[in-house]
Amino acid sequence: MLKPRVPLEEQKVMPVNGDEAVAYAVKQCLVDVVAAYPITPQTIIVEKFSEFVANGEVKTQYVPVESEHSAMSACIGAAAAGARTFTSTSAQGLALMWENLYIASGLRLPIVMAVVNRALSAPINIHCDHSDAYGMRDSGWIQLFVENSQEAYDTTIQAFKIAEHPEVQLPVAVNLDGFFLSHTLENVYMLPDEEVHRFLGGYRKLVKTYVDYLNREVEYKLDPANPLSIGSLDLYDYYFEHKMPQVEAMKKASDVVRRVNEEWYELTGRSYGDGVIDSYAVEDADAVVIVLGSSAGTMKYVASLMRQKGFKVGVVRLRMFRPFPFSEVRELLKGVKVVGVMDRGLSFGSYGPLYLEVNTAFYYSKERPLLVNYIYGLGGRDLSPAMAEEVFMDLIEVAKISEVREHLKFIGVRS
């Protein structure tokens, strides 16, 4: 094994919860502006960060706004002025930001946002599911999901590097499960500040763009010395053309996510699969589940127990949901008999959003596995090892009869 540039003994172990892990990560990222509004279970992130600001531990401009709509607006303004910008939110807060999410990506602003996943109302619920993240899937943001608090810390730092990559220039949402991660204490290894600074290459670097009326290349930022007007009226004559670079940037993002994961490995000794997909015991598996977020831990644990009993089961955790790794999923699960797709959220009148993507991934391959969609854990209902086993056993049964009788199943709900 390669010796990391910062060996584990030189990393500081901090007993923090997932939210604090994110706050400490942001503290080290030379962030110019943070604008946020508190909402459970995200509150600890900005609460902790505002402490750092009040204590003079960071030089960040903290903007306490009156709503999430304003939080994202302030981030858009700051990022357009060239600032490295961060915000975080959950559920209703994310929903309130919605129209601005599209503006952030359309203007190609590399804002980083921690989304602490929480169920959407009604009825009101503060606990974890992925309905909030699924709601923003078409907004042009890169969406990463983490499994534990260590990964939340690592991914938050990586997110700035991914977002600001010259070929990407897109906002990134780092998703961590509300309460399961956000409020659960875990030992997290943290890097020295200067290593994070070096990893990110210092403060945000701006890309350049050619503007006809200025007759030269200028930095892409709002600057009175080189006045730019951004995001103004754009009708059927150019709007379509302005959307295409977003398509292209998303295509390039996968490779950047992978490369950043490798760089992180060289720096810290930690990596998460190939950065895009983190798989467990998939190679010879007959039945595999695909899952997002912290539930992957439970699924891997149960899979390891079932392996001991002789069941060939495996787990695929997608770390990246947008852009969706279609060819990677297809390649990885080639030859698997049956795949269970686990969604912590669903599109009413349809299936779980993850299931729809996995179906698309396999449509064009001749040999495709049988697919079953399991909806679980809505409103923070725990996915117990027993439920995880129920899913695996169900998949094994489907493999045995080679037929899916029910495509949409609900796990852990009382009838």
Partner: protein, 92 residues
């Protein structure tokens, strides 16, 4: 100068407007056209002050309308204290 209309690879990043808005003439949106009666006009310049499009021009002697950009909103006619501006249909 690149050929218009441009392809998507030829545009600046992030929906930056690469041309001045002066090149985007909006006068064609107009249905009502302001006509200034210079014999009534006192040159108070309130129309110039209120015009949201900066389409009122002072020639040094007269108050004129730049019809390339005037969208015909009628604010000038409404604000004119001596009722020197008439809004007349563009096509009648």
């Amino acid at each position: 100068m690149k050929k218009e209309p441009r392809g998507w690879r030829e545009l600046p990043i992030g929906a930056v407007t690469y041309k001045l808005s002066l090149e985007y003439k909006t006068g064609g949106w107009r249905t009502l056209k302001p006509i200034i009666d210079l014999s009534k006009c006192t040159r108070c310049m309130l129309c110039w002050l209120f015009c949201p499009e900066m389409a009122i021009v002072w020639s040094g002697r007269d108050v004129l309308v730049n019809y390339d950009y005037c969208k015909g909103c009628g604010i000038c006619a409404y604000e004119c204290p001596v009722k020197a501006i008439d809004m007349v249909p563009e096509y009648s």
